[in-house]
């Protein structure tokens, strides 16, 4: 098979179509402190400043060799635009939500009518222009965003969200529907700005936090509704050992499912979702990319490919203090596998 462009390769791989070799990308967080120092585009500024955001995101493509450009670097852009307060973190710590607009209840849920203008959304949109100018059409651009479940928990606070899941099912449903609508609107703003794919990270949907039965009854329909309303290639990332909900994730209508190394039996996982979704992952972010060696990274890349992973990627967000050589080893491992 002739050499594909990076965009075609990633698209095909996620759709389960044939490729010359598996693509290597990070669909989750890509920035590291080393890249920040090389580019002069550092956190926390790169979370808000479009040119820094673009510069830092590009570095993981040009310097680390990842075959996509992926940004922003946090899961708080939409939440902030929807009224959450955010602590912007530090050079090696991601932003986090500190205040929640709907802690008291769902009586005055209000969808902003100018979402595209709020918070850091304009910066993300502008970053897309800069990235596209720099890489052209052949390199895929992936926008990351928080998923409806995580957004709902940010809006209500995790504690209220969980409480409502048992005690106030109607309110639980209402905040989820509201968050789903916001996610759809934001994803379409991102698409209009010219990104190729969207990766939805929804850590709060993990069986670490929510009962799989709740996932099946209430969360899955939100994710599927999102997927139907956003017309592009989509990847769903859920943290932790998602084995108990993998079959349900397969019903969510995302092309790719990004999983961590905590999913122990990847071959079985592949069988579970075969025909409905492809798998992205699963080199351990904390244990291998952060604290392992390039050889260990390559070993896990080969194991992932043997197990049937379609897109080689870190299992979860790359930790900022990860050495660049370990990120580079993702591509080296893939190249050795296919040579």
């Amino acid at each position: 098979m002739s050499e594909l462009t990076q965009k075609t390769r990633l698209t095909n791989a996620l759709k389960g179509e044939s490729v010359d070799k598996a693509p290597v990308a990070s669909v989750t967080q890509t920035a590291t402190v080393e890249l920040m120092e090389m580019t002069g585009a550092s956190w926390p500024e790169a979370h808000s400043d479009a040119s820094k955001m673009a510069k830092l995101a590009l570095a993981s493509h040009t310097e680390a060799g990842l075959e996509a450009v992926r940004y922003p670097f946090c899961l708080t852009v939409l939440a902030e635009a929807m009224g959450c307060e955010v602590n912007m973190g530090t050079q090696n710590r991601q932003p986090s939500i500190t205040e929640h607009p709907y802690k008291k209840g769902i009586d005055d849920l209000k969808m902003p009518d100018n979402l595209a203008e709020l918070g850091r959304i304009p910066a993300v949109v502008e970053a897309t222009d800069i990235v596209r100018d720099s890489v052209g059409e052949d390199v895929p651009i992936i926008a990351g965003m928080e998923g409806p479940v995580t957004l709902a928990s940010d809006l209500a606070s995790v504690k209220k969200f969980m409480k409502w899941s048992i005690k106030k099912p109607d309110d639980f449903k209402a905040i989820l529907d509201f968050a789903t609508d916001a996610c759809i609107e934001y994803a379409n703003i991102l698409l209009d700005s010219g990104v190729d794919m969207i990766c939805v990270a929804d850590p709060v949907a993990s069986p670490d936090l929510m009962n799989p039965a709740t996932f099946n009854d209430t969360l899955k329909p939100c994710l599927a509704k999102f997927a139907e309303a956003v017309d592009c290639i989509k990847i769903l990332h859920i943290c932790g050992n998602v084995t108990p909900v993998l079959d349900m994730m397969g019903d969510c209508k995302f092309e790719g499912l990004s999983i961590e190394e905590k999913v122990k039996d990847v071959k079985e996982a592949k069988k579970t979702v075969e025909g409905r979704a492809t798998l992205v992952g699963n080199v351990s972010s904390p244990f291998t990319i952060l604290s392992g060696t390039p050889d260990k990274v390559k070993e896990e890349v080969k194991k992932a490919l043997d197990d049937g992973i379609s897109v080689v990627a870190p299992g979860c967000g790359i930790a900022p203090n990860s050495p660049l050589e370990n990120v580079k080893a993702l591509v080296e491992g893939r190249d050795e596998y296919f040579s």
């Binding site: 504690k159 936090l209 929510m210 709740t214």
Partner: protein, 254 residues
């Protein structure tokens, strides 16, 4: 978390988990046996605040000391929840609603108690800088208050400077610090050295998911402990005059 094989035995409690046992059935086997106490513990398990208060009232009317019910019934119910959560039979939302029911029960017991409770001592409680996981800290704080301590709750993501300043201002008998992430727990080290630099020798009791005994033992002021329920016991021991070395002898596991 422990991988749960349903055929395994919950050895700690000598209970055989049958393959398809629901958490409610498991809980039935773990509640205390006294019928009044059992009813309260069960209401905590179910996260039913109204039922907790009703069951407490019943029991108090039968002549039981309200304050004793905090440890004997409310915390016993929460312990069942924690056990089943640790074994993967319950999920985090269950922990949260039960904790809330326990908290309301504790408030009720305090109201009902005729004793004027004087604070046994001041304690500072916080979650380390960079870490927003505060569910466990909330539980620890409530248990300390339930046991008669005045708790200055600094909240989550608390900078080292702020902790040190609060210690200087409040002069607590101990600190209770929580860290859930391996990336944030190093903040204990800074608190430890900053306090030592100011000649403050207050025990810094540390817990939360990420923290291990070996890690905490490296710091002069560090005392490690796993169970939230042990934190009030540590405070009691401090009042009885145990120093950091003796606290470690008593509460450290190996």
């Amino acid at each position: 978390m422990i991988d749960i094989n349903p055929k395994n035995t919950l050895i700690r409690y000598n209970i055989l988990v049958e393959s398809d046992m629901a958490p409610e059935e498991m809980a039935e086997k773990l509640y205390p046996t006294d019928p009044h106490i059992r009813q309260i513990a069960k209401a905590v398990f179910e996260g039913d605040e109204d039922e907790v208060v009703a069951a407490l009232q019943n029991t108090i009317d039968s002549g039981v000391d309200p304050l004793s019910l905090i440890n004997d019934a409310l915390m016993a119910g929460m312990e069942v929840v924690s056990t089943l959560y640790d074994y993967g039979l319950l999920y985090l939302p269950d922990v949260i609603i039960s904790a809330q029911a326990m908290i309301e029960g504790i408030e009720y017991c305090k109201e009902q108690s005729k004793q004027v409770h004087e604070s046994k001592g001041k304690i500072i409680s916080y979650v380390v800088e960079g870490d927003i996981h505060d569910i466990g800290k909330k539980i620890v704080t409530v248990l300390l208050r339930a046991n008669g301590y005045e708790v200055i709750d600094l909240g989550k993501d608390v900078p080292v400077e702020e902790v040190v300043a609060a210690v200087k201002k409040e002069k607590p008998i101990m600190l209770s610090g929580t860290a859930l992430m391996t990336t944030t727990m190093h903040a204990f080290k800074d608190v430890n050295s900053r306090l030592l630099a100011s000649d403050i020798n207050v025990p810094v009791v540390c817990g939360g998911g990420a923290v291990t005994q070996d890690f905490i033992s490296d710091y002069d002021l560090g005392v490690y402990c796993e169970e939230a329920a042990d934190v009030p016991k540590i405070a009691d021991s401090i009042l009885q005059g145990l120093d950091i070395r003796k606290l470690r002898d008593t509460f450290h596991k190996h």
